[in-house]
Subunit: 236 residues, 2 copies
DNA sequence: GATAGAAAGATAGTCGACAATCGTCAATAG
DNA sequence: CTATTGACGATTGTCGACTATCTTTCTATC
């Protein structure tokens, strides 16, 4: 069975495999924001045809990691405070909804699972293992979203988180002190477990809003722009 | 200039054109939920290659209008109360965020635009033109989302609305009485115009929540399932 | 010297043919 | 009669070659 189970996980479609490979290199920082992606080069390196690479790049484009200029080029998506702001605000709205639904509808088994994930976070944070704590942080939010039973929400959230991590690493926006993580997440976890939908939603939203504020504050003294909403509009 | 302006709108890429054509047929009800899509047939009908059709179908799959079973088939996405429930809850979260951002950051010109769109809705509703009123309804929400200046939000919202309309037509979920539309939307519009972010968000959310409730109530007496969240889970 | 236009090189877009996979149905064994 | 196996047909997955478009570079002209 050891070899059989792997088939479930292993991707059979070449374009998916190619997308996974490229995605990995992007989140690995091997390919930084703005890095140009040549179809022919990728095709040669991954030993597939250009059509397959095209399909993979389109997927990554839908995930927000890659951008295309028609007839011209593909490149890794840019990283900026504006992009990060968009991601965090969206994440806040999505996780608010998820927390509310999870509190209302999650099964006992799922609630047990959430307790365990929180315990992992607590352990990692108390041991001051930054990497592990950050992973556990994301895992906890992912768990709550999964508990919502909302398929589109789960899918969209996964994409947002992927982009958040990408932006964070390239924008120099570090996670908070590990110990600070615990209190925030304990309250949220308890609200979900207790079935207090309104409070769970509120906590999920303010949790993310606080991160947005921290992001903007950290960037306020930087030379770049001022207002968030990419308000470089035609307006007035 | 009459022929030149059309170039802006006219899609130059064949796969986009193909996607537009198929999308049109889906929202037109020419292709109902579950309708099978054969690459070869579409290629012949639209006079493009199968690869181009494949690309188009992948786009539509990302928009949620089409589903794929790997190595087997493409088909038009199913319509059900569960799908509609997902769409409405997501829409509520997205429009709540959009209303808040629009109230805070929109330019004076954009606010004027919103006033005009509301006037259109009011006129159509008072004249009891159902079709026009429904269109104006969607247009108003789209306008508010656009005012948020949040690119991802705008993009995602457009996709959700497309799916909402698709589900509505196939699930037999009619819009409310035209006159009822006015009051709801007046309050929301005024809150956005006034810059009252909290109230705008609240109204946008409850507005959609009311629709979710109406959807579930209308379906409660139907033979199909009961609970919303597709809670056909493994959990005990 | 600057600028407009044309040619050339590089790269993405499209196509038709071939390969891999799946579902069906008939043949056969129990 | 039922269940398993194998071959066949239909459909999707992948590939390499060709075409269209963009960008850059070179040249000619003012």
């Amino acid at each position: 069975m050891s070899t059989l189970t792997s088939l479930k996980t292993q991707e059979r479609l070449l374009d998916r495999q190619a997308a996974n490979s490229i995605r990995q290199q992007i989140v690995n920082r091997t390919m930084p924001p703005g890095h140009r992606l040549l179809e022919a080069v990728l095709a040669r390196e991954l030993e597939v045809s250009r059509g397959t690479i095209r399909s993979a790049l389109m997927q990554l484009s839908n995930e927000g990691l890659v951008r295309q200029v028609a007839f011209t080029k593909w490149e890794v998506a840019p990283a900026s405070v504006e992009e990060a702001w968009e991601l965090y605000t969206l994440r806040s709205a999505l996780e608010g909804l998820a927390a509310s639904l999870a509190a209302q509808y999650a099964s006992p088994a799922e609630r047990d699972g959430l307790s365990r994930v929180f315990a992992e976070l607590e352990a990692a944070a108390n041991a001051d293992q930054r990497e592990a704590a950050a992973d556990a942080d994301f895992k906890l939010h992912k768990t709550i979203v999964a508990m919502s039973g909302h398929k589109r929400l789960i899918r969209d959230h996964e994409r947002i988180i992927l982009q958040v991590r990408f932006q964070m690493t390239h924008i120099g926006f570090a996670p908070r002190e590990t110990r600070d993580l615990i209190d925030d997440h304990r309250d949220l976890t308890e609200a979900v477990l207790k079935g207090d939908a309104a409070r769970a939603e509120q906590l999920a939203r303010t949790h993310n809003s606080a991160e947005v504020k921290r992001l903007l504050d950290a960037n306020a003294r930087q030379p770049s722009s001022g207002t968030p909403g990419a308000n470089t509009k035609k307006g007035d």
